[in-house]
């Protein structure tokens, strides 16, 4: 509670473009500028929200690699369709995505975390880029996965 070290933001290196300062690596491609405005539409085409992430061109190589690794890691997490024939019991229990607070509807793309919490893929993927933990139970996502991936 109430924790506020003056320097505590120093480790919050934001690797993500903030509102108003979004920049795209390929400014010559006019299509990319629509990405920001039509995320919903764009995403349904891409089927993989994280792949639509554009990195800040001024990121260090190390930071870019870090984000790229994280995107690969996120894409290793199982994805499914809400209400689909292959859906597990977890999706039958959860009624809404606690990030956007909108009820799941049949056909929504769902991401399954190792702790079995489920979210809209478009909601959780953007979060996992920022913090690799489940927003509901704070379970890391996932140390084991990360280690196994690093060894690949």
């Amino acid at each position: 509670m109430g924790n506020c070290l003056k320097g505590s933001r120093a480790d919050d290196i934001s690797l993500l473009p903030e509102a108003g300062e979004r920049e795209y690596s390929s400014t010559s491609n006019p299509a990319s500028s629509h990405l920001n405005l039509n995320l919903g539409q764009e995403r349904s085409i891409l089927h993989s929200p994280v792949s639509s992430y554009h990195l800040k061109p001024n990121l260090s190589e190390e930071e870019q690699i870090k984000i790229a690794k994280r995107i690969v890691l996120i894409n290793h997490l199982p994805i499914g369709t809400f209400g689909g024939s292959g859906s597990s019991s977890a999706s039958a229990e959860s009624k809404e995505c606690v990030i956007c607070m909108i009820e799941f509807v049949t056909g929504d793309q769902i991401r399954y975390l190792p702790c079995l919490h489920i979210y809209h893929a478009r909601c959780i993927d953007d979060w996992l880029i920022r913090s690799l933990c489940c927003p509901s139970c704070m379970e890391p996502v996932d140390a084991a996965l990360l280690v196994s991936y690093d060894q690949d």
Partner: protein, 168 residues
């Protein structure tokens, strides 16, 4: 252009809080056309030094909400170790999520996208009742709270009185 997720989510919360008010605070918008800037009135929690006070505060949500936290600032003068003299609230759940590999160790103390106006205010109200003097935002208030409690109490009492006058 479709309405962004952040504004839909905030509208939903505002509607819900209007329909089912939560004890301890009331919430609305600073400007009814701007869903990203909220004004809340916090009732000084009972059995604390702040009891009887009415503290106005503003919440400023980023467009990336709920992926990023809002900022919170008390507009009513308030004397508290974790609130800066200019009113800025310093509470760990409003800190940007960490992004380093080991950041998850403290992830639960930081911002999470499941936080709502309600959960933020519950944390702030509990902070009023129970200051954290390990990393104060108002060093003078923290020092008084630790070493000169009667002075601290007097200053808070003054703020409480002032807040009542402002509201009447």
């Amino acid at each position: 252009m479709a309405e962004p997720q952040s504004s839909l989510l905030l509208k939903k919360q505002l509607g819900e809080l209007n329909k089912n008010p939560v004890e301890g605070f009331s919430a609305g918008l600073i400007d009814e056309n701007d869903i990203f800037r909220w004004e809340v009135l916090i009732i000084g929690p009972p059995d604390t030094l702040y009891e009887g006070g009415f503290f106005k505060a503003h919440l400023y949500f980023p467009k990336e909400y709920p992926l990023r936290p809002p900022r919170m600032k008390f507009v009513t003068e308030i004397w508290h170790p974790n609130i800066e003299k200019n009113g800025d609230v310093c509470i760990s759940i409003l800190h940007e999520p960490g992004d380093d590999k080991w950041g998850y160790e403290k992830a639960s103390e930081r911002w999470l996208p499941v936080h709502t106006v309600e959960t933020i205010l519950i944390s702030v109200i509990s902070m009023l009742a129970d200051p954290n003097d390990e990393s104060p935002a108002n060093v003078d208030a923290a020092k008084e709270w630790r070493e000169a409690y009667p002075d601290f109490k007097r200053k808070v009492a003054r703020c409480v009185r002032k807040s009542q006058e402002d509201c009447s």
